[in-house]
Symmetry: C2
Subunit: 346 residues, 2 copies
Amino acid sequence: MADSSLVIGFDLGGTKMHAAAVDTHGHVIHSERCKTLAADGADAVIDRMIGLCTRILHELGPRAADVRALCVGVPGGVDDERGIVDTAPNLGWSQVPLVERLSGALNLRVFLDNDVRVAVVGEHAYGVGKGTRTMVGIFVGTGIGGGIIVGHHTHHGGRGVAGEIGHMTLMPHGPRCSCGKRGCVEALASKTAMLREVNKLIKQGWTSRVPKLMRKHGSEVLTSSVIERALDGDDEVMVKVMRDAQYYLGLLAGNLVNALDPEVIVIGGGIAERLGERFVGRIRDHAYKHFLVQRDREKVRIVPTELKDLGAPLGAAFLARERLQGRLDSAPGPRHGTASWPGPSA
Amino acid sequence: MADSSLVIGFDLGGTKMHAAAVDTHGHVIHSERCKTLAADGADAVIDRMIGLCTRILHELGPRAADVRALCVGVPGGVDDERGIVDTAPNLGWSQVPLVERLSGALNLRVFLDNDVRVAVVGEHAYGVGKGTRTMVGIFVGTGIGGGIIVGHHTHHGGRGVAGEIGHMTLMPHGPRCSCGKRGCVEALASKTAMLREVNKLIKQGWTSRVPKLMRKHGSEVLTSSVIERALDGDDEVMVKVMRDAQYYLGLLAGNLVNALDPEVIVIGGGIAERLGERFVGRIRDHAYKHFLVQRDREKVRIVPTELKDLGAPLGAAFLARERLQGRLDSAPGPRHGTASWPGPSA
């Protein structure tokens, strides 16, 4: 008999949230998204999360009864054992008991993981990394996050905090990072670092349309869309800043290849989603130059995300199934039975 | 019935070779060592390797019949499938069919691996890393090598070349490395890099006893013993150069922790064997400062080698057993039966 079960993969971002009901084949049956509006506080955001899931369950109709679990990718550190979001700086969250709130309202098993890790799992399960044993994800946004797959599984590490590749030092006396250290790749190649460099060059007398484009977009941060427009217009500052960032990301990729020799490195995040090969091409070129072992270097694929912003929901859905399976196997009990949808009043 | 089988773990170094017959518990039954004298050429070195194994088998007496396999840790890249040493720069070897030569002469199954990887396996199986899921080895000598254990097993990577942590870039415009790139940690913190810095400071007018100590030891390279004596004499140049190297090694360790979050980092190689905590203490201090996640940082143990120069023979022995087992399981056949010792004339 075919397995008709569904799970919900949830991507909780700093600016928007995006959830999808996913079947056993990784097909999205229904998805919803809305703004996060983190400034409203954790309670309001969690209410919106519950509302989004409720809409999905409503749209699923009778198939809502097939939904077995929910996994949320959170932009920060989570304690999945205790069901708590430790810290999520972009949301302003600290020690938020997210699992209790969501499972209470939705009557579903709820799991948590980091948003980037979840997106890497998505690319591994359903995207560019399908079938690979070793894979690394580098996600470039306002920060730089990552995820590492070894032996077909997410590598969590001894304290459960592996994958923080954005905070590998590339330049010991380089610019200060948001983490307090100097010369992390995040301080050299994130959108935050790019904006700092754009402003520095403008102060040095270079001309750039970037500030005007940002005002036009009503944005105080450097968005992927502003970057694209500036590059389309051959903005000399944006071109230089982008090339520098690609160089550092190539170094990071090269370092990770020398250490881990993965079969694939997926480059994700807003810029990669928007620019694809135009962003990744130079990263790959620089990375290849930094491989110690040049033999078969093209066997290490360095490629843009395939799933784009569906990576995180699909990865979260994959993890929901995996964990549900693991926990059902190891600790069967009344809470682990077939979930049924009791309606939002539960 | 107790398993009385033995394997030989062989550490082929650039200056000396060291082999040990090891039982199922990792106890050394008999070991032998001699000089490598690589300048004599591959044939002469291989003859010496055969001679060393022959002496061990002779000393084992009737137990020689219990020896099942031999695994050699080689200072370079190996192709274990084809049984060939690809390149071993310290030996001046390229494309040497070592397995054929040794198995023909000794009538034993012979396996190859990289010497540092093998030493990391030794520390994982029998030393500081016993029982850990994730472990990293950083071996500091004339170069810097490494090995990575994930999920209790050596991580080889897609092309089989993982663990080249000495060639992770730490300073994009730093000193030139032997590999041709700039600012690899090997170009900043190996004994070769330390000697370059010692000479640079002396040229700048600093005074140091290091050149005199090197002449006294008849050495053109900076040995661990010269380093120790210079530090014992509070040689200002050696103290500064050592502190810089410890800083870069701490950065490397911190980077690897941010990426992989291992339970233990073992620091090996000649300096670590000789100086132990005196070498590793400052590396640990710098590394801890560079952890992104400070929570439970002391759970990441950063420690000197426990097995010292027995790590490689013990690790090679462990791998010999593991591979013998794997191959026996997957491809039984006449060559895989109980080995018997036919005498040196074979």
